[in-house]
Symmetry: C2
């Protein structure tokens, strides 16, 4: 009555979908394979036909979700003219993603993955990539290490705002939030340019 016998590929996709939700809510350790199977309307062995292990499934999820988020940001900032626009559109794309995919946000940044060495490197890879997109907006006069740290700080900026908004439970206007947060971020980024005064010369 529930699962009308899907093809292997379709079942795999469905499991991934459902697992994002379940893991997103309960975390890696809080959700059992049985929970996920039940939520998908099947039984455990079906999961193991598509994924070698619980951690394998989780890895796949992190990869897919991380790629989706980064792609959304990359696409939005693809043809930006200046740093300000890139900052605004980047944050906008990010908060839109959070707003419509609470579960995906929780999966990546809910924290379940952060510890386990196995997953933490995967999460780090994602945040590293996000930071790499931000780093060029910071003055070159600064020590590269500090620049990286600042870039990661700005990733945290978005994460901190999102955590609160998602935690509140109710929906929010991502564009509103993006305007406010990116306003703060861009002002901060420009301040890093004061040293060599390059902030005055932006085109557009």
């Amino acid at each position: 009555m529930n699962a009308p016998r899907l093809s292997a590929d379709a079942r795999r996709e469905q499991i991934l979908d459902v697992a994002i939700d379940v893991f997103g809510r309960a975390g890696y350790f809080g959700a059992s394979m049985n929970d996920i199977a039940e939520a998908a309307g099947v039984t455990k062995p079906v999961l193991y036909q598509h994924f070698d292990s619980k951690s394998d499934l989780y890895r796949a999820l992190l990869e897919e979700v991380g790629a989706r988020m980064l792609a959304a940001i990359a696409k939005a900032t693809a043809n930006c003219h200046d740093g300000k626009e890139q900052t605004e559109l980047g944050f906008q794309a990010y908060f839109r993603w959070v707003a419509q995919r609470h579960d995906e946000f929780m999966l990546l940044f809910g924290g379940s993955a952060r510890h386990d060495g196995e997953f933490s490197s995967q999460i780090r890879q994602i945040t590293d990539e996000a930071a790499a997109a931000i780093a060029p907006l910071i003055t070159v006069d600064i020590d590269p290490e500090q620049r990286q740290t600042l870039a990661h700080a700005l990733v945290g900026l978005a994460e901190g705002a999102s955590r609160r908004l998602v935690g509140l439970g109710k929906d929010f206007d991502p564009d509103d939030v993006a305007r406010t947060v990116s306003g703060l971020a861009w002002a901060g980024l420009r301040a890093t340019h004061r040293v060599n005064g390059s902030s005055a010369g932006h085109p557009g």
Copy 2:
């Protein structure tokens, strides 16, 4: 041979100390009570003489560590004259705490606690308090909800920077980092004042 029979109070303190380290490294689920007992040089039942359960122990840790961090920041910013100084000294106290207590940082922000409803509210309480200290630095012209979100974003700013620094493994100069990050933060905070132009009137 190792643990020369401590008094109950001393043992309790030692367990807390050791548990910060073990949980900080492995996370709540990654560390077993046996691990902690072994690290403390005792056996499991001793833990249960001092704490009702694993979660009880963890709760106690979060409380102690959270209070310690907030107290450090509060003390540093107790007699500040203006927002800029408060921002600088607050971040400085925070990054000093991170620099000398990697394990405590990992315990609070490593992510283990973030999911489990039981602990997540405790973590949230801590970040809420930190955000409450930041919120007054943001213009009153903004919607209170947005102000709260911005405050939490700035908490995330510090967290994001710390996560990278701690993740690198090597030591860092907290005052250096604090200068850079608080510079960005303060510039961002001032930008929120542009709306009503109140940024010009600061004393000092």
